[in-house]
Amino acid sequence: MLSAARVTIKQHRFEVIAAVLAAVAATVLGASIALRIDALDVSLDCLDRVLASQDGFSAGQECFALVREGSTILGETFLTGEGTVALSIMGVLPFLLGLVGGVPIVARELEARTAQTAWSLSASRVRWLAHQVGPIALVLGTVMILAALVAVPVADASVAWGRSASSLIGLHGPLAVGRAFAAFGLGLMLGALLGRALPATFLGIAISVALLFAVGIVRDAWTASLEPGVIADFSPQTGEYSVSPRAVTTGWAVVAPDGTLLSSEEARDVAASAGVPPASPDDVQDIPALTWYEENGYVLLPIGVSDEMALGWAPYDGLIFGLVGALSVAATFVVVNRRRPT
């Protein structure tokens, strides 16, 4: 059993080593970031003060310097939450690991025409495939789980530094492993279908990108279906509204002077009934209505959902990628069982 696993790993040593190196690099980077952020020992109070201030300076020099240093470590521009190196890598790593590990398992045997011999020597093709997949899945699964776990404290730090937790779904923890499983299954199936490693890899990349895009569209539709609320807070000091940190904007609404929340269309109807003329065709902002709102105490505000509500998407993300992975692996067994070995 062990010697068979060793042969399988040896057959695909380059891909396995490349995938392991990538995962180890991501793990080391993640661990280094988590440790350095932890060493800064920035208090939540300090982070909240910097996030609440306009420029950060008014939060105090020492506190601002610490937060700024944390932003540098996280690879972010000042508090925008963009460009986080470690989490960006975690967006790609599951797919890289999955495709590089999954594609050549069957494709290489077919391409090199060794499948004919291997399949006829094995008691069944299903058993042959299980023996091929097992060792590679075990090695890649272990390093993927490690990288995904180390990414968790990095994600937590990013959230503390102002990024929304819902924007990090799938980039750390079990959901990242789920994505790797989906990519592995896809790669395995495409390799078995096409019988050539390189075209299967390219097609796997294209399908993964399309899948991510499609999931993104479904997710946006799901978020838009949630009950929206005003995501701006009124500041008595400045007399202005500021958008709540980490909230997800889904549209705009108008708050009437009595506090009633009106949709844009309802507010326009109110303005029209008060005699406000319709906007000219080139006036996309509807200046007459905006002017009337301001003069009559109506406030135009962004509406959306809180970060906690948007996080409700996480189980669906896991379900979609888990299903893709399971169905692809099952389909591979069917393909290998029925395919010509050439």
Partner: protein
């Protein structure tokens, strides 16, 4: 040349097809965004330029719209990355496939020389790649012309590397480097992985050296920032000048600009604060930079092709 092109197509139709599909999709995306922006611009010119999204035309030289902020960015990034990706896809299997499938054992002795064999493999694939990439290069140029209608794209760094000749020429060193990696490794999938890393480093290096093509000039004082004057110029860095005119370090400037209201110290006078200064390469010198980078890309492509030839000559066909 025709049999060589036909052979290249037969041997690499999957790879050529993948690059062509990506090129066509990106070009279609660029032209779709262009048509959206054109409609918006026509409305702005017919009406007024004081309401969104037309207002930003006079303020920032561009129109802001959902498409111009999301799909446009994706399309421009995609076109910018395409020559490198195409280089890996087309270059990595060029020699490695022959080595892996052991057809080099037959092909190399039958050719008059390995140099001639390589020439008939590399040239057609590079030529096909250049032709395919010309489509998104032109689409990127059209998109840029519409995105920043107030400035001449021939004198603007906006969309640098995602339009025009650089999109095409960046393929040359990428394809040669990927083919070199393929020759050294002799296996297709590992070659794609390693070539991806090598070409990725090349692309990153290319981005880093952009500000070094020409000496940047002191373009504008941030305190009197006028976007229309700097749009199209290539930002290099921000430096800080003290009120007496001497340069000071960023750390010193930030320290002096920070003030803790709880410290009890009086708020510093803004007139004593250091002034941030933008250093830029002026937009008028865009053509000069493109010519310099083009020459460097052709040179790098030739150098890497030379190394590839040496590697092919010395390699065992297995």
């Amino acid at each position: 040349m025709s049999p060589a092109l036909s052979l290249a197509w037969r041997l690499h139709r999957w790879e050529i097809g993948a690059v062509a599909v990506a090129a066509v999709l990106l070009s279609a995306g660029a032209l779709w965004v262009t048509s959206q922006l054109s409609q918006m611009l026509a409305q702005c010119r017919a009406a007024t330029e004081v309401v969104a999204p037309c207002g930003s035309l006079t303020e920032m030289g561009t129109v802001y719209h959902v498409e111009s902020q999301t799909l446009m960015v994706l399309v421009q990034m995609g076109i910018g990355a395409l020559p490198y990706i195409a280089g890996v896809v087309l270059g990595a299997p060029l020699v490695s496939r022959e080595l892996e499938q052991r057809t080099a054992q037959l092909g190399w002795p039958l050719a008059r020389s390995r140099a001639r064999w390589l020439w008939f493999r590399l040239l057609p694939i590079a030529l096909i790649g250049l032709i395919v990439l010309a489509i998104p290069a032109m689409a990127g140029e059209v998109l840029e012309r519409t995105l920043h209608p107030v400035i001449d794209p021939g004198m603007s760094f906006e969309g640098y590397g995602s339009r025009g000749p650089l999109v095409v020429l960046r393929l040359l060193p990428a394809v040669a480097a990927a083919a070199l990696v393929g020759t050294l490794l002799g296996r297709q999938l590992p070659s794609v992985l390693v070539a991806g890393v090598v070409v990725g480093v090349m692309a990153f290096g290319n981005e880093l050296i952009q500000p070094l093509w020409l000496e940047p000039t002191e373009q504008q004082d941030v305190e009197v920032y006028r976007p229309l004057e700097t749009i199209g110029s290539l930002y290099v860095t921000t430096r800080y000048r003290d009120r007496d005119g001497t340069w000071i370090s960023e750390e010193e400037a930030i320290e002096r600009m920070s003030w803790d209201p709880e410290s009890g110290e009086p708020e510093p006078d803004p007139a004593d604060m250091p002034r941030p200064i933008l250093l830029m390469i002026p937009r008028e010198r865009y053509g000069e930079v493109v010519i310099r980078e083009s020459a460097a890309l052709v040179g790098a492509g030739m150098l890497l092709s030379g190394l590839l030839l040496v590697a092919v000559r010395r390699r065992r066909p297995r």
